[in-house]
Structure formats: structure tokens, C-alpha cells
């Protein structure tokens, strides 16, 4: 009877494609919006993720997220180094400085100053040059997106000429020479990322009494990052978080203080509702139109269980195909636009699971409506002409 159920479903092309369309749209919208949301949220803490070596980040207790810089005194670094269980602790400068472009415009850049001696916290992937080239005079490393985009010069024909090794920039009136191009996560505001040494970064930065943004700390073997963070916080009165905690704090800030989750939540909800409305109602109508055939089947000896399994199989089929098409489209969308534009797109398995659940809910809703009709169906209606 499963065969009959599938032929009933797929034989009515209009309804079949209508249901599939609804589910595909729902699946696409939910996956796409969730992926963009996750992509955006991932960008908020991308810098923390990229700084892979440190177990613990120490900072001013008032810091709310990675870009909320509340500088520390340099002496705090020594205090942290004195905490038992610290293998090493290095300073990190992070700030926004303006780069002057050829055309006279200014471009805000995310400047990262790495510990001069170890260069800990530097980019993991160098596309051109080497990280240790930062030790050369006025040296900076640019991220690939910044070099190809906002920091690119304009040629005579107006086409962008990407910044490359050897190019020079003016950072806050200081000359800087590009010695490398690296690949890092895009920042939330899509600003170019400029890596240099801590001492050079603080010399580029406007004069302030305190310039140390964060202290990156490595735990000695045998002590967990959480334990070390507790010790640092207790001993120094600084805030200290493990890498994962700092990522969470950052993402929570954006979740709490920006309208992003609400906006995306509404879009996801709309996708869900549109899918439910189109697929649910089409599926329900499909069942209604087939009610007399279900009644005939019932009269001919099909049990309620058989009829229900037919409806469930129909719902599972359209649900599965709609889910596959929708998530496939969303993945294609992300793959295409993610590499060609600034689009933030990240599609982890959790989103696929969430979308599958949402589609299952839509299908369940649609089939429950239909199942109710089928179960209550009085087979005697077949004799009513």
C-alpha cells in the first residue's frame, strides 16, 4: 500500500510540487537565515578562535566582548606571569586605527599587536611572507580580505590592485610596510586586520597611559584552563576566561544587546510559517481531495493503521525531499555568495538537525490534520455518490 500512497502523492503533480515547493522554501529559508545568523555570530568571536595557542584570556573585568577594549597597565602582565600554574603569558594589543589610502580616504583597521619575542596570537595561515617577518622595520601583515578589498589601491583603470608584500600603508601617520598576507576569520564589521608587533602597535596607536588590551595565558600541564582562570581572577583581580568562555561572553553580548537574534529569529519564524502554510495546507487539501479514495480503500478492507501509514509515508517523502532540496539550495547559496561577497554563512550540523526538526514539525502538523480526517472517515461515504 506504500506504493499506492506514493503514486497517489506523486501522480498529482500540481499538489506534489506545491507541497515540495512549500517545504523546500521553508527548509531553505530556515537553513539560510540560521546559517547567516551563525556565520555572523561566529565572526564576532573569530579573532578569539584564530588565536589558538592561549588557554586563558585575562582582561579588565568590565570588558563585555572581544572588541570592547578596556586597556590595562603593562604591569598587569607581570602580575599574571606570577600566578602559579602559568606556563607563559604574553601581551596583546587590539585596537582600531585608521589607515590612510592612496586616494586620501581613511579606512579603519583592526590592528593587532603580538608579543614581540614570541609573536603568539599571530595568524595560523600565511598566504604570502612569514610571520617572523614582522620583526623587520615597520612591518605589518594584512589579512587577505583586507588586502584584496578595502586596502586595495585603485589602478588607472579604476580596477583594484590588491596590497601585496612590499606595499606600504600609513597607519595613524606612521609608515607601515606589508611583509605578509594572511588568512584569518572575517571580522564582524569586515574591517581589514593588520598584524604587527606589540611594541609597534602601541607606537602606531594614539598616546594613552594604558595600551595593553588583553593578556594571553598558557596553562602549565596538569592545570586546566578553568582552574588557571580562577587563580588569575583571584590573584590579580582581572577577569580571566577560558577561550570557550570568552567566545560565549562575546556572542552573548551580541545576542543580548543587538537586534540581530530577533531579526533573524523573525526571518526563521517566517520561513517556518510560510512552509507550514504552503506545505501544510496543500498537503491537507491533497488528503481532503483524496478522502473519497481513502474511504474506498477503507471499505475495501484497508485498516486505519494502513491508511495512517500511507499518509505518514507521503509526509515523510515530501518532508525528506523538501528538506534535501531546501538545505541543498541553502548550502549552494552559502557556497556561492560566501566566497564572492562579504556574506557570513556557516552551516554546522546543528542547523541541519534544527531544520530537519522544523520540517518534521511542519509535516507532522500537516499530516495530523490529514490523519484526523482519515481516522474519522466513515467508509459509508463511498456509497453517497
Amino acid at each position: 500500500m506504500i506504493y499506492v500512497a506514493l503514486k497517489m502523492l506523486m501522480g498529482d503533480r500540481g499538489k506534489y510540487f506545491g507541497i515540495l515547493f512549500g517545504l523546500t522554501i521553508a527548509s531553505f529559508l530556515i537553513t539560510q537565515q540560521m546559517s547567516i545568523f551563525v556565520g555572523l555570530m561566529t565572526r564576532t568571536y573569530g579573532f578569539i578562535t584564530d588565536s589558538g595557542l592561549a588557554d586563558v584570556w585575562a582582561m579588565d573585568p568590565k570588558v563585555q566582548f572581544i572588541d570592547d577594549i578596556k586597556p590595562l597597565q603593562d604591569t598587569q602582565l607581570l602580575r599574571v606571569r606570577g600566578v602559579e600554574g602559568v606556563d607563559w603569558a604574553v601581551p596583546l594589543y587590539k585596537g582600531i586605527l585608521k589607515a590612510r589610502l592612496d586616494n586620501g580616504n581613511f579606512q579603519a583597521c583592526n590592528v593587532v599587536g603580538l608579543d614581540d619575542s614570541t609573536l603568539i596570537g599571530g595568524p595560523a595561515t600565511m598566504l604570502e611572507g612569514r610571520l617572523e617577518d614582522l620583526r623587520r622595520a615597520d612591518a605589518i601583515i594584512l589579512d587577505e580580505n583586507g588586502a584584496n578589498g578595502k586596502l586595495a589601491r585603485r589602478g588607472p583603470d579604476g580596477k583594484p590592485i590588491p596590497a601585496r608584500v612590499g606595499s606600504t600603508l600609513e597607519l595613524n601617520d606612521h609608515r607601515a610596510v606589508v611583509v605578509g598576507i594572511c588568512k584569518v576569520s572575517r571580522t564582524f564589521q569586515s574591517q581589514p586586520v593588520v598584524y604587527t608587533t606589540y611594541s609597534r602597535a602601541t607606537s602606531f596607536a594614539p598616546m594613552e597611559r594604558k595600551l595593553l588590551s588583553f593578556i594571553q595565558v598558557k596553562a602549565k600541564p596538569g592545570i586546566t584552563p578553568r582552574q588557571l582562570a580562577d587563580r588569575i581572577a583571584r590573584t590579580t583581580s582581572l577577569a580571566a576566561y577560558t577561550k570557550a568562555e570568552f567566545e560565549d561572553i562575546t556572542i552573548n553580548y551580541f545576542m543580548k544587546y543587538t537586534g540581530i537574534p530577533v531579526n533573524f529569529g523573525i526571518a526563521v519564524l517566517l520561513g517556518f510559517l510560510v512552509g507550514t502554510a504552503i506545505a501544510g495546507m496543500t498537503f491537507y487539501n491533497f488528503t481532503l481531495e483524496n478522502l473519497r479514495y481513502f474511504a474506498a480503500l477503507k471499505a475495501m478492507g484497508a485498516t486505519n493503521t494502513t491508511l495512517l501509514s500511507m499518509v505518514v509515508v507521503q509526509a515523510l517523502l515530501v518532508g525528506g525531499i523538501g528538506f534535501g532540496l531546501g538545505t541543498g539550495l541553502a548550502a549552494g547559496f552559502g557556497s556561492y555568495f560566501g566566497t564572492r561577497t562579504e556574506l557570513a554563512f556557516r552551516l554546522p550540523w546543528q542547523i541541519l538537525t534544527g531544520t530537519a526538526c522544523a520540517i518534521a514539525v511542519i509535516c507532522t502538523f500537516a499530516s495530523l490534520l490529514s490523519l484526523w480526517k482519515v481516522v474519522r472517515l466513515e467508509p459509508a461515504v463511498v456509497f453517497k455518490g
Binding site: M8, D12, Y293, A296, G301, A302, A380, V382, G385
Partner: protein, 236 residues
């Protein structure tokens, strides 16, 4: 026309009421009826006299409120729902007024449905269905969709469907109402020839006086009662 004496269906004092209070409608008022094995019995009467209710009770689709309905000696009313549905699937074939062929299935697939319901493998069911279509004279239309068939051909498919699982009783509801006279006549000839061939019993509900001659007996109903059982020749 030979009439066997063994009883296929026995109804005694069957009553059926719909609704309650002011909306109460009594459809059957103590119906007594016997349908013999191998017999073609026609149920005739004005609209609303209870014919459809009666065949629904006989087919185990509706429960009577009172009285006894034995189908091949089995009291369907006393069976559990599931058992009754299975009994119906095995022993009763249906020919509906509006054919009720599933429009997205081919003729052969439609005919195979009762076998599929009974759990036959699909290939085997389709093969048997094709043979049934041969028997009703449209073996070459097995791959056609119902929309590609004429009314008469669709009714032949419906007849093949009612026979394919070799039921012992066939219940037909106005089998000729959607057909012209000539086609209706042919369909009844076919029903008599094919459906009764294996000693099956058949109950046909009809208004169509032109087909009365095909019956072995005609039960006239009025206001929920069998008022008269006559032979077709007595109506001439």
C-alpha cells in the same frame, strides 16, 4: 437462472437509526432478508428508503443498532473493528456508483488494490489484476489511467477490482447510473457472467428499471423496510 439455496446473507430484524432527539432518522426498521449463495439480488426503492444503509450494514461498513446480520454465517457486528475490516477485505467486493478509481493509478494498479490491501506482493498483484482485466474484456487497457478510459471501461475496471481477490459477496451501488443504457446493459451482462460465475452472491442497489431483468430476485424497499420480494418476471 439457477438459484442456490445456501444462505450468503441473513438479516433478521435489523434496525438502524441516525442522529438523536429531533434529528433522529430511522433508516432501517426491522429488515428481514436472505441473500442466497450464487444469487443476484437487486435492492430497489425510492431515494432515502434505506437501500444504501442496508448494503452498508451487510458489507460491515455500518453497525446495525438492533437485529442480526450474518454474512456467510459470521456476525459482523460482533467482530472487533480490525477483524471486521479484514473480513470485509477478504470476502466482500465493491462496485461503487462513481467507480472510485484512484486517478493516479493505472487500471491494472487500481484493480490490484484489494490484493495489495490483503498483503500480496505488488508484482503478483499486478499480474493477477491484469488477468482480471482480461476477464472483463479490457486486458489491453491495463496501463491506462482512469481519465483515459470511457465510463463503461472505468466501470469494467471497477468490476475487475471487485472480483480480483475472489470475494464471496459483491456489493454494487448504482453500477449503471453513470452509464448510458447500452453500456449499462453490457456492464450488467458482464457482472452476471463474470461475478456470479464462481457461485458468488451479489447485491445491487439500483433505481434503473432497465436492468431489473438481470436479477434473480428483487427486494423492494420503502421507509426502511423490505416491502416485497419479487421475481423480475413479475414486474413485466
Amino acid at each position: 437462472m439457477p438459484i442456490a439455496t445456501e444462505s450468503a446473507v441473513v438479516l433478521q430484524g435489523v434496525t438502524k437509526t441516525y442522529g438523536s432527539g429531533d434529528a433522529k432518522v430511522t433508516a432501517l426498521r426491522g429488515v428481514d432478508l436472505e441473500v442466497r449463495a450464487g444469487e443476484l439480488l437487486m435492492l430497489v426503492g425510492p431515494s432515502g428508503c434505506g437501500k444504501t444503509t442496508l448494503i452498508s450494514v451487510v458489507a460491515g461498513i455500518l453497525d446495525q443498532d438492533d437485529g442480526e446480520c450474518l454474512v456467510f454465517g459470521e456476525d459482523l457486528n460482533g467482530m472487533r473493528d480490525r477483524d471486521r475490516v479484514r473480513y470485509r477485505g477478504r470476502n466482500i467486493g465493491f462496485v461503487f456508483q462513481s467507480f472510485n478509481l484512484i486517478p493516479t493509478l493505472t487500471a491494472a494498479e487500481n484493480v490490484a488494490v484489494p490484493l495489495l490491501i490483503l498483503g500480496s506482493p505488488r508484482r503478483e498483484a499486478i499480474r493477477t489484476a491484469s488477468e482480471a482485466l482480461d476477464r472483463v474484456g479490457i486486458g489491453d487497457r491495463g496501463h491506462s489511467l482512469p481519465s483515459e478510459l470511457s465510463g463503461g471501461q472505468q466501470q469494467r475496471v471497477a468490476i475487475a477490482r471487485s472480483l480480483v481477490h475472489r470475494p464471496r459477496l459483491i456489493v454494487c451501488d448504482e453500477p449503471t447510473s453513470a452509464l448510458d443504457h447500452q453500456t449499462g446493459h453490457k456492464v450488467l451482462e458482464l457482472l452476471r457472467e463474470v461475478a456470479l460465475a464462481d457461485g458468488r452472491s451479489m447485491i445491487i442497489v439500483t433505481h434503473d428499471a432497465r436492468i431489473f431483468s438481470f436479477a434473480d430476485r428483487i427486494a423492494k424497499m420503502d421507509d426502511g423496510r423490505i416491502v416485497e420480494i419479487v421475481s423480475p418476471s413479475s414486474l413485466k
